[in-house]
Symmetry: C2
Subunit: 539 residues, 2 copies
C-alpha cells in the first residue's frame, strides 16, 4: 500500500534559534519607546493605550512565587469545591458577556455573531470541566490490595493523578476567548487543580483584562486562593514565564515559529518542563471520485466556506483540497470558484497577521505550477484581506517547491490539488507533514474509505468523514492535536476532557494507612468515583 | 507549614552538553582499537570477545526503516494476537531461563538467587502486560454520539489511543533482565503495539543477545512481523537511535548525565520525540521519634539491608536516612552500624561502576561534617566494593556542600541525618531534590504521618509507609517515576500497567461509518472492553 502508516516528517524543520523578528512581531507598542500596552482596532488601525504596562521580568518572578502559593492552597480544596469554582467562572463570563464581546469585537473584528458563539463555547467549556471534575475519572484512581504474585508478594499500592503546580498559558490570536485567558488551557489547568498565569495575546489585551476581572470576581466569590489566576502582558514576560522556576508546564496555541522557540527554551531549562504547543497545520481534505460524482456542488461550496470561515484564521482550516480530475472534479472546482468569487473580504486579527498572510499568499503565487482559481472581494482597512483559491497538479506537491505548498499560511487561502490516479494520490498524501486533521469525502460503500482513513490516522489527530475540520467541539472524545509539526506533544490534546491529563502527574501510595490516604483512594471510596480495584474497573 | 508542597528543585542542574567522558565510559572495547563487543566478568575482570561488532550508524538507519515496516504490520494485528505474542515471549524467557541466568550471572555478578527472581519478574511482566492488553482499558476508548449542546450540535466523535511507532529502549546496567532487552520498556512498548529497538547495555551484551534470541523465537512462533524487536550494541549506535527519523519515542534507564544528554538530543531533533528517562535519585527515608521509640532495632537493621541490597545498585536505594536525635535515634543508629559492620562486600556490575562508586564515596568522605558510622567488609576483585554508612547533622544538608550530599552515588552508601526539631526537619526535607520515592516510618496514630505524606507526594512519585523503597512491583497502581531530576517526564511511569501510555497517542474519528471504525470504538463494542460512552464509563 502506498500510504505508509507511521509516516515520518519527510521535510524536516531546522531547530529554531532565538529570533529577533519573532520578538518584535507581536508587540503592540507602536513606536512609543515604552512598554505601554495598546489595544488596537484592526478595522481602523487605531491603537488606544490601556493605561497598563507590559509585565517586567521581576514581576513575573514574584507572580510565579505567588502562583506556587496559590497552587498549594488550591490542592487542599475538594473536587466539589473545584467544580463550583469552574461553574462560578462560567457564570461570571456569561454575566460580563456583553462587555467582553464588545471589547473582543473592537480588538479582533471577528464580529458579534462569532464572538457570541465563542463566549457560549467558553462558558460551556468551564461547565463541562466542572462535570469532568465531579466525575473524578480523570484522577485515574486505582487500588491494588496486598497480594501474592508469581514474582512474590506485593504490598498495598494505590495511585492517583495529582496537579503539577503553576501552569503558564499563552493566549492565541484567533480565539480571544476560547483559546485565550478564559480558554481551554486555563479551564483544564484549573480543573486539574493547578494555578494559572496567562500571557495575554497582544491582539486583544483589553478583552484579556476584562476576562481576568470576571474570572477573579468568580474566584473571590467562592473564596478561592488569591493569585490562582494571574495575567502578564508582553513578549518578554511570556518568555520569562517559560523560564520561571515555579512554572511547571506550559500551554501554547500559536505559530510553529514562536511555539518551537518556546518549546526549545522549556526543554533547555535546568529543570525541563512539559511544553504543549498547538502549532497549527496544513490540513488535507480528500474528495474521492465517487463523492465528487455524488455531491460535487455541495462539497465545492462547503469546503470554500470552511476555508473562509473567520477569515481563514483557524488552525484546522483545510489547506490542501484533493479533487479528482475529470468532469466530476471539474464540477467541484467550479462550485468552489463560484463560492470563492461570491465571498466577501474580511478583517484579519491584526495588521501584522494580515501582512504575514499577504506575504504567504505572494510566495504561493510566485511558485511554479500554481494557478489562481478564484478570489473573494478584497478587504478594507489596515487588516483587511481577500481570500484566494489556487490550483496545482498533484506532481507539484513533490516538486522543488513542496515546502511552500505544505507550510501553513494563516488566513483564507487554500490549494486545490487535482489528482488522476489513486496510487499517486496515496503516495502524495503519505508524504505530507502530519497535521491536526485529515478529512475525507467518500460515499458510504466507497472502497477508498478504509484506505484513506488508515492513512489519515497516521497523519493526523482527527479523521473526519464527510464533514469539515474547522469545527472543534468540547467533549470527551475530541482530540485536538497530532504528530509534530502540528503539536509539540502528540500524546496530548488541547481540547476536551483529556486535555486535563497534561497538567497531572501520578503518585503511588504504598502501605499508607486509610486515614492518611487521599479521598480518591481510601478503601470505601468516599468520593464515589470510578476506580480500578485489583485490576478491575468499577464504575 | 514548613513543608511547602510543589517544592521546586532548589539546586538546579546546568544543561548538559555533549560529554566526551560519557561517550568513553561505558565502552567495553578494551583498547583493541576496533569496535568489537566484549563480555566482561566483573568478578575476574576477564573480557571475552562475543564475535560481534558494535552496530554502525548505517546499520541503525536500516534498522529504523525495518522497524517502521514491522510497526506498520504489527498495528494491523488484533489485541488478542498481541496478548498471545507477549505470553509466548514470557514462555521463551522461562524456557531459556537457565542459560540466561548463567550468562547474566557471569556478566553482572548479581548472583543466581537474585537473577532467578529477576527472570521470574521479567516473564511475569510480559504476562501481566498480556492481561492489560486483553483488558483493553489502555485504549481509553470513548464514544460520543451526535448530540446538541449549549455550544451547538456536535457530530459523532470517537477516540482511542494508537501506537506511536518504533520505540528505542536503552537497557540499564543494574537489571540485566527486568530493565534491559526483555524489560519493562520493551514489554510495555510491544504491549502498546509499537516495534522496539533495544540498545544493549555494555555490562551484559551476552545476556542481551540470549534474551533477543528467546524473544525472536517466540515472535517467530506466532508469526510476528520480522524485525519487531531488534538490538544494537555500542554507544554511537545508541546515540544514532535517538537521532533516527523513524524512531518515535525513547525509553531510558540510567544515570542523570547520560539521560540528560540523550534527552537534550531528542528534544533538539528537527522532529522532537518523547524521551522517558528514569534517572535515579537520592531517596529519603524518615523515621519519626515515635517510630524510633517503637521499632529502633528493626528499622535500623532493615534500612541497611535496603541500602546494601544488590550492592546498592538500585535507583530506589534509600540514600538519606533521617533519624531523630536522642536515645531512640541512637538505638536506630546502633542497629544500623551493627548491620552494616556485619555486611559482606559485594561485586558491583562493572569495574567502571565500581570506580564511579569509589569516587562518589571519596567525595562524600571529604565533605566537611561527614563522619563514617560503619563499613561492611570490603569486596574483592576488580569490581568488588564495600558498603559505607556515614552520618551528618541536619544543618550540613543546607551547608555549602549540599549538592554533594543530595546527589545520587550509585552503590551501597547512605547518609544518616540526625535531626532534633520537627520544623527544621520539614524545612530540610522540602529543600531536597525530587526523587522516585519518599519513605516514612511512623506509628499508626503518629501525628507526623499526614504532614510527611503531604511532603512526600510533592517530592516523589511513590510514598511508602513503614516499608523500604527498593522493591518495585509490577501492577496497576505502581508509579515508578517522579519530578525532575528523578525522571525527564513526571507525567509517566516506567513500571506497571500505565507505562504503556508513554507509547500511545490519541486519534479521534468524526462521523466515521461503523464499518470503517477501529474495533475498539465500533457501536456494538465487539471487543467487549470498558469504554466511556456519552461521558459515562461503562465496564
Amino acid at each position: 500500500m502506498a500510504g505508509a502508516p507511521f509516516a515520518s516528517s519527510p521535510r524536516e524543520y531546522s531547530p529554531t534559534t532565538p529570533d529577533a523578528d519573532w520578538f518584535r512581531a507581536p508587540r503592540t507598542t507602536k513606536g512609543t519607546g515604552v512598554s505601554e500596552v495598546f489595544s488596537t482596532n484592526p478595522v481602523t488601525g487605531v491603537a488606544t493605550p490601556l493605561g497598563i504596562h507590559e509585565t517586567s521580568v521581576e514581576e513575573v518572578v514574584q507572580m510565579g512565587r505567588r502562583s506556587l502559593g496559590a497552587a498549594t492552597t488550591f490542592a487542599t480544596r475538594s473536587l466539589e469545591w473545584r467544580a463550583g469554582l469552574l461553574e462560578a467562572m462560567a457564570q461570571a463570563l456569561d454575566d460580563d458577556g456583553a462587555a467582553i464581546i464588545a471589547a473582543a469585537n473592537e480588538e479582533t473584528g471577528l464580529g458579534e455573531g462569532r464572538l457570541t458563539g465563542e463566549l457560549r463555547r467558553t462558558s460551556f467549556q468551564f461547565r463541562f470541566f466542572a462535570s469532568v471534575v465531579r466525575d473524578g475519572g480523570f484522577l485515574e484512581a486505582s487500588v491494588d490490595h496486598a497480594t501474592d504474585t508469581p514474582m512474590g508478594p506485593l504490598p498495598d499500592l494505590r495511585r492517583q493523578l495529582e496537579p503539577l503546580g503553576p501552569v503558564a498559558v499563552f493566549g492565541a490570536s484567533n480565539f480571544p476567548l476560547a483559546f485565550s485567558v478564559p480558554g481551554g488551557d486555563t479551564a483544564s489547568a484549573l480543573a486539574a487543580g493547578c494555578s494559572v498565569i496567562v500571557k495575554a495575546h497582544p491582539a486583544h489585551p483589553n478583552t484579556s483584562r476584562l476576562c481576568v476581572r470576571a474570572l477573579e470576581r468568580a474566584a473571590s466569590q467562592v473564596d478561592a486562593p488569591v493569585d490562582l489566576l494571574q495575567c502578564v502582558f508582553g513578549v518578554a514576560a511570556g518568555v520569562s514565564l517559560v523560564d520561571d522556576v515555579n512554572v511547571r508546564a506550559v500551554g501554547f496555541t500559536g505559530s510553529y515559529r514562536a511555539g518551537r522557540f518556546l518549546f526549545d527554551r522549556a526543554q533547555a531549562r535546568a529543570v525541563p518542563i512539559p511544553f504543549y504547543g498547538e502549532l497549527g497545520s496544513v490540513n488535507a481534505l480528500v474528495i474521492t471520485p465517487r463523492a465528487a460524482g455524488a455531491r460535487a456542488s455541495e462539497i465545492g461550496a462547503a469546503m470554500v466556506a470552511s476555508v473562509t470561515l473567520g477569515a481563514g484564521q483557524f488552525c484546522t482550516k483545510p489547506g490542501l483540497l484533493f479533487v479528482p480530475s475529470g468532469r466530476d472534479g471539474d464540477e467541484v472546482v467550479s462550485a468552489a470558484r463560484e463560492a470563492m468569487s461570491a465571498s466577501a473580504g474580511a478583517t484579519m486579527l491584526s495588521s501584522a497577521i494580515r501582512e504575514h498572510y499577504d506575504a504567504g499568499v505572494a510566495a504561493l503565487l510566485d511558485t511554479q505550477g500554481v494557478e489562481v482559481l478564484a478570489r473573494s472581494s478584497s478587504g478594507s482597512g489596515p487588516s483587511g484581506a481577500g481570500a484566494v483559491l489556487v490550483e496545482i497538479a498533484l506532481d507539484t506537491l513533490s516538486g522543488p517547491d513542496a515546502s511552500i505548498l505544505d507550510t501553513e499560511c494563516f488566513g483564507a487561502v487554500a490549494i486545490v490539488v487535482r489528482y488522476a490516479q489513486r496510487e499517486r494520490l496515496l503516495e502524495a498524501l503519505s508524504d505530507l507533514e502530519p497535521a491536526l486533521t485529515f478529512t475525507v469525502h467518500a460515499e458510504s460503500d466507497d472502497d477508498w474509505g478504509p484506505v484513506l482513513i488508515d492513512l489519515g490516522r497516521q497523519l493526523a489527530g482527527r479523521v473526519i468523514i464527510n464533514g469539515y475540520p474547522t469545527g472543534v467541539g468540547v467533549s470527551w472524545s475530541m482530540h485536538h492535536g497530532g504528530p509534530h509539526p502540528a503539536t509539540t506533544s502528540a500524546l496530548h490534546t488541547s481540547v476536551g476532557a483529556n486535555s486535563m491529563r497534561r497538567w497531572l502527574r501520578p503518585v503511588s501510595y504504598q502501605s499508607v494507612p486509610d486515614a492518611w490516604l487521599p479521598e480518591s483512594i481510601k478503601e470505601d471510596n468516599p468520593l464515589g468515583i470510578v476506580r480500578r480495584v485489583d485490576g478491575q474497573l468499577r464504575a
